[in-house]
Amino acid sequence: MIKLEHIFKWYNVGGTKSFILKDINLEIKEGDFVSIMGPSGSGKSTLLNVIGMLDEPDEGNYFFMDEDVLNMKAKKRSQLFQSHIGYVFQSYHLIDELTVYENIETPLIYKNLSSSERKSIVSDLLDRFNIVGKKDLFPAQLSGGQQQVVGIARALAGSPKLLLADEPTGNLNSKQGEEIMELFKQLNEDGVTIIQVTHSEKNAEYGKSILNMLDGQIK
C-alpha cells in the first residue's frame, strides 16, 4: 500500500544541511498496524507527515497504492489522500466552533455527500463510539479522552483505508490511553491500516510491527 524509496528531508541551517529524514526505505502492506518509536527529534512525526503528504520530502520516491505521489498534480493528490487517509492528532485538533456532530460531519461535506448520506454516516459513528448524548456539545465541554474519541470518529467518517495517528494518547491519562488503543486494535481487525507514532512501549505493543527511529533513520 505504501512504498517509500530513498526519502530525504532536510533544513538548511547556516549553509549546511541538517537532515531530519535520511534515506528512508519502507514498505507497509494493507491491514498492517505499525508503531513508530524513537526519541524526540528523531523524525517520527516528520515521517508520518510525509506519509500523509502534509509535508513533502526533498528527495526520494513515494508510491501510495501504486501511484507515484510526488509526481502527481496537487489537486489529484489531495483527492487521493482525502478519500483514503484519516488523521488523529495528539492534541485532538477538533474545530472549536463546531459541535461534536459538525466536527464529525466536516470531512463528509468536503466529499460532497448529500445531507441525508452524511446524517446516516455520522449517526452510525456516534452510535459506534457511544457519544450520541454528546453530539451537540462543543469540544471545550468534553474531557481529553472524549475529545480524542471524537477525533477518531471524525478520522473514520470518510471510511479511510489508512489511519495516521501522531501520539494519539500523548495528552491522555493511562486509562483513557488504553481505551483508545483498544479501539485502534479493533479498527485494525476490521481492516483499517494504522500507522501510529508513540513514545510509549506499552502502546507500541498494540501494533503488529514496530519501527525504531534515530536521527532521521530507521534502525
Binding site: 512525526s45 502534509l54 472549536d96 463546531l98
Partner: protein, 801 residues
C-alpha cells in the same frame, strides 16, 4: 444556512474583533450611502428630460472694460422678440417668478385655507408645457392659457389648496392670489425626476410683461429657456439675440462703458453652472465623493488589518480542515462568504445609522432630495458596494490563509510561533490610515481657527447686543405705517441704547449705482453699492466718522456719506478734502457731508469696498430696524418683551420675529460652517477607524511577542519598559504619517483659505498641536493593550504545553 450559523458563532467568540469590524464597516458604508444619495440626486438633474440637448437657458452677459459679468436674468421684452422674430427657435419659455403674499381658497367659507409666502409660482407661456412634458391629471394642455387669469397647479399644490377635492374635479375652481381670482385650468403630476424646472404653479405671462419695452433692466426673477429646432442654429441664435439686446441697451449702457449681450447654457449643464441661480457647486460634490471613498477605504483597510490579525488564530482551524480534505478553493470561498456576511451585517447596521445621520444633519442634504424616489439606484449601489467591499477586503487575508502550511500548524503549540505574511503590509496600511486621519485633523483645526478669526475680525462696525428686525411689507400687516413710528416707540424705553433704520452693514441688502464727480480730466465715475440709513446708524453700529458730520434728516435730498475707499476712488486726497465737494448719484447732485472708516459691507469672503450711504424718506428703503440693547445679556429678555409690546400695538397682524446680529453673522458663513461641520464629522470617523486599525495591529503584535515579553520580564524589565517597547514601533509609524500628512494638509488648507479676504496666517504650531493630539490619542489607544501584555504573568507565556 449552516455556514451562516458557524460564522455567527465565530463572531460571537471574538466579540471585540467582530464589533470593531462591523462598526468600522457600517460607518464606511453609511458614509458612502449618504454621499451616493446626494451625488446621485445632484447628477440626475435634468438627465431624464426629452430633447434636453436642444434646450438652453438664456442669460445676460455684460462686457465691462476689464471684466465680463454674467447674470441669470434677461430683459422682459426679450421673450416676445425671440418668439416673434427668430425662426430657429421652437419654443420660447420665459419663467417669471411671482410673489403673492397670500393665496387663499375661500370656497369653504367656514374653514378657508390661507397660505403665505408661497414659493415657486411662475408666469410662463403655453410653450412651457410643450417643452417640459407633464402628465395631465385634469385639464387640457392644448387649450391652456387661452383665457386670462388661468392657473395650472401641480398635484402637490392642488392637494395643499384643496385637500378634500378629487384632483380630476379641480378644473374651473377658483383660487384667490392676493386680490385676484384665478381659475384652475389644469392639474399636472409633479415631475418625477430632479429638474431645473422647479415651479409648481403656472400662470400666463401678464400682458404688461409681454408688451414691456424695458430693455434696460435685467432681473433675476425674469429668466428664459428656449428650445431650438436644430442644434446647428445655436450660434446664430446667440448672435441674433445678442445683437438685439446690444442695440436696445447700447445707448444707456455705453455711458458706463458696458456692453450687454446674451449667453446660453445647455440644459444638461444648467444645474452646475455657477453663474446661474439655484446651481450646485460641482466641486463640493467631488469633495464629497472623495470623502466617501476615503472613509470606505479606511473601513476596508480596517477590516483587512483586523482580519489578518486573526489569521494566525484561524490557521489551526484551516490546517485541520485541510487534513480533512478541504480544497484551497473551498478555503477561499468560505472566507469570501464570511466577509460577505460580515459586510451584510454591517449594511444592516448602517441602515439605522444612515437614518440617524439624515435626521441629525438634515441641513446638509439637498432640500428636495426626499421628494424624488431614488430607491433603485441606491439599492444597486449598495449591492455593488457590498460586492466590492467583500472582494477588496478578502483578497489579502485569503492570500495569507492559503499560505498556511499544514504540518506547521498541526505541530504549532503557541500562536506566537506562527509567522504569517509580513507585518510590513499592515504597517503600510496603518500609515496610510493615519495620513488621512491626520490631514482631517489638521483641516478641522485650521478651519476652526479661521471660523473664529472671521467672527472676530475687525469689521469696521460693532454688532454687539444688536437685534435686527425686518419690518412688515405686506399690506394686511400694516406695512404702510411709517418705520419712524416704530423707531420712536422703541427708542423711548430706557433698556434700549439706540435704534436705527436702514440696510444692515454686513449684508447683501443694498441698492447700487454710480457715484460720479467732476475732475480735471473729466468725469470720474465709480460704481458702488448704496445703503439707505437714518441719522442714528453710525451711532448704533459704532462706525467711525473720519470727517464731516453724521447723517441728518435734512440730507435726504442733498447729502451723502462715503467711506474712505470711495473717496480715494473718486480722487480725493484726504477725508477732509472731500467734505462739501459735489458728487452725482441717481442723476442728482449731492454734497459729501461725511466720510466714514471702511467697513465690511457685503461678505467676509470679499474685501472692504467702496460704499455710499444715503438717507431716505421712502418707506421701502428703510424697512429694516437695528436695535441696540444694553451690553449685559441678562437684561435682553425683558428688553425684548418691551419691544414686543410696542411691535404688537403697531403691527398687530405681523409675527414678532427678530434675530441677533451674531446669529446673522453665522448664517453668512452657513456654507463654510456646514462644510466645516462635515469635515469635523469626517475627522471623528477617520480617527475612530484609524484607532480601530491600530488596536488590531497592536493586539496581534503583542500576541506574537508574548514570549519575548515574558523573557524580558523574567530578566527584570519593568512594566513601563515593556509598554515603551511595544508602543515605540507604532508611535514611529504615526510619526511618519504625520510627516507625510502635514505638507498635504498645508497645501489643502492654503487653497481653502484663498477664498477668504481676511485669513489667518498658516504657522507651524497649527500642525504641531494636531500632531501632538494624534500621538496622544494613538498612545492611549495602544496603552491599554500594551499594559495588559506587560502585566501578564511570564509563567503563563513561557510555559510550553
Amino acid at each position: 444556512m449552516k455556514n451562516i450559523n458557524l460564522i455567527i458563532r465565530k463572531l460571537w467568540k471574538n466579540k471585540m474583533f467582530a464589533f470593531l469590524n462591523i462598526i468600522g464597516l457600517a460607518i464606511g458604508i453609511s458614509a458612502c450611502w449618504i454621499v451616493f444619495r446626494i451625488v446621485n440626486y445632484e447628477f440626475s438633474f435634468d438627465k431624464h428630460h426629452p430633447n434636453q440637448e436642444k434646450i438652453f437657458k438664456v442669460f445676460g452677459v455684460f462686457d465691462e472694460v476689464s471684466s465680463t459679468d454674467y447674470f441669470d436674468g434677461v430683459p422682459t421684452p426679450l421673450s416676445r422678440y425671440i418668439k416673434e422674430n427668430l425662426s430657429t427657435v421652437e419654443y420660447t419659455v420665459p419663467i417669471n417668478k411671482k410673489h403673492f403674499p397670500i393665496i387663499s381658497n375661500t370656497s369653504d367659507s367656514k374653514d378657508p385655507i390661507l397660505i403665505e409666502d408661497q414659493q415657486n409660482i411662475v408666469e410662463t407661456t403655453s410653450d412651457y408645457f410643450k417643452m417640459v412634458p407633464y402628465e395631465w391629471i385634469a385639464g387640457n394642455q392644448e387649450r391652456v392659457f387661452q383665457h386670462p387669469n388661468e392657473v395650472v397647479l401641480t398635484a402637490s399644490r392642488a392637494k395643499e389648496y384643496f385637500p378634500n377635492v378629487e384632483l380630476k374635479d379641480l378644473v374651473g375652481k377658483t383660487l384667490k392670489y392676493d386680490t385676484l381670482m384665478y381659475s384652475i385650468a389644469g392639474v399636472v403630476k409633479d415631475l418625477e425626476h430632479p429638474s431645473s424646472f422647479l415651479a409648481k404653479e403656472f400662470m400666463n405671462v401678464s400682458s404688461n410683461d409681454w408688451n414691456s419695452d424695458n430693455w434696460l433692466t435685467f432681473m433675476s426673477d425674469y429668466t428664459l429657456f428656449v428650445q431650438l429646432k436644430d442644434l446647428n442654429s445655436k450660434s446664430s441664435f446667440v448672435d441674433q439675440a445678442s445683437k438685439k439686446v446690444f442695440e436696445m441697451t447700447n445707448e444707456e449702457f455705453s455711458k458706463s462703458d458696458s456692453k450687454a449681450r446674451v449667453g446660453i447654457t445647455a440644459l444638461a449643464d444648467v444645474h452646475f453652472d455657477q453663474n446661474l441661480q439655484d446651481s450646485t457647486n460641482i466641486k463640493i460634490l467631488y469633495g464629497l465623493i472623495g470623502i466617501g471613498i476615503f472613509l470606505m477605504l479606511l473601513a476596508t483597510i480596517n477590516y483587512i488589518n483586523l482580519t489578518t490579525a486573526q489569521v494566525p488564530y484561524r490557521a489551526k482551524e484551516i490546517g485541520i480542515r485541510k487534513t480533512l480534505g478541504e480544497q484551497p478553493f473551498d478555503v477561499s470561498k468560505s472566507f469570501f462568504f464570511e466577509t460577505f456576511i460580515i459586510t451584510a451585517i454591517a449594511l444592516l447596521l448602517s441602515l439605522p445609522l444612515t437614518k440617524i445621520f439624515e435626521k441629525t444633519f438634515a441641513s446638509f442634504l439637498p432640500a428636495n432630495i426626499n421628494s424624488f424616489s431614488d430607491q433603485w439606484p441606491v439599492i444597486l449601489f449598495i449591492l455593488a458596494l457590498l460586492i466590492i467591499i467583500t472582494f477588496i477586503a478578502s483578497i489579502y487575508p485569503v492570500y495569507l490563509i492559503n499560505k498556511v502550511q499544514i504540518s506547521e500548524v498541526i505541530k504549532m503549540k503557541g500562536i506566537g510561533k506562527l509567522s504569517l505574511g509580513s507585518i510590513s503590509l499592515r504597517k503600510v496600511l496603518i500609515v496610510f490610515q493615519f495620513i488621512i486621519a491626520q490631514i482631517f485633523v489638521i483641516a478641522t483645526f485650521i478651519m476652526g481657527l479661521q471660523m473664529k478669526h472671521t467672527m472676530k475680525s475687525d469689521l469696521g462696525f460693532n454688532y454687539n447686543a444688536i437685534v435686527t428686525f425686518q419690518l412688515p411689507f405686506k399690506k394686511h400687516q400694516n406695512s404702510d405705517v411709517d418705520p419712524y413710528v416704530f423707531k420712536s416707540a422703541v427708542e423711548k424705553h430706557s433698556q434700549v441704547e439706540g435704534v436705527s433704520l436702514g440696510h444692515f452693514p454686513l449684508s447683501n441688502d443694498h441698492w447700487g449705482n454710480n457715484v460720479s464727480t467732476a475732475s480735471d480730466t473729466g468725469e470720474v465715475k465709480v460704481n458702488m453699492p448704496i445703503k439707505f440709513i437714518d441719522n442714528d446708524y453710525l451711532k448704533v453700529y459704532k462706525i467711525k466718522l473720519l470727517a464731516g458730520r453724521p447723517m441728518t434728516i435734512a440730507d435726504t435730498s442733498s447729502g451723502v456719506i462715503l467711506n474712505k475707499i470711495a473717496i480715494e476712488e473718486l480722487g480725493f486726497r484726504t477725508p477732509t478734502d472731500a467734505i462739501g465737494k459735489p458728487v452725482q448719484t441717481y442723476g442728482k447732485d449731492r454734497t459729501i457731508t461725511g466720510v466714514v472708516e471702511d467697513f465690511n459691507s457685503k461678505t467676509l469672503h470679499s474685501e472692504k469696498k467702496s460704499i455710499a450711504l444715503l438717507t431716505s424718506a421712502y418707506r421701502g428703503q428703510l424697512q429694516r430696524a437695528s436695535i441696540k440693547l444694553k451690553d449685559d445679556p441678562k437684561t435682553w429678555k425683558s428688553s425684548l418683551e418691551t419691544i414686543e409690546k410696542e411691535w404688537k400695538t403697531i403691527y398687530p397682524n405681523a409675527p414678532f420675529a427678530f434675530e441677533f446680529y451674531d446669529q446673522k453673522m453665522r448664517q453668512f458663513y452657513e456654507s463654510d460652517y456646514k462644510f466645516s461641520k462635515i469635515i469635523n464629522l469626517s475627522t471623528g470617523i477617520t480617527i475612530l477607524l484609524s484607532c480601530l486599525g491600530l488596536i488590531s495591529l497592536v493586539t496581534i503584535s503583542t500576541a506574537q511577542r508574548t514570549k519575548e515579553i515574558g523573557i524580558r520580564k523574567v530578566l527584570g524589565s519593568t512594566i513601563a519598559g515593556i509598554v515603551g517597547l511595544l508602543s515605540k514601533d507604532y508611535l514611529k509609524l504615526i510619526f511618519i504619517s504625520i510627516l507625510i500628512a502635514s505638507p498635504i494638509a498645508w497645501w489643502a488648507s492654503n487653497k481653502w483659505l484663498q477664498d477668504f479676504a481676511y485669513k489667518i496666517e498658516l504657522s507651524y504650531w497649527m500642525f504641531l498641536i494636531p500632531a501632538i493630539a494624534t500621538i496622544i490619542i494613538a498612545f492611549l489607544t495602544m496603552g491599554y493593550h500594551s499594559l495588559k501584555a506587560a502585566k501578564a504573568n511570564p509563567v503563563d507565556s513561557l510555559r510550553d504545553e
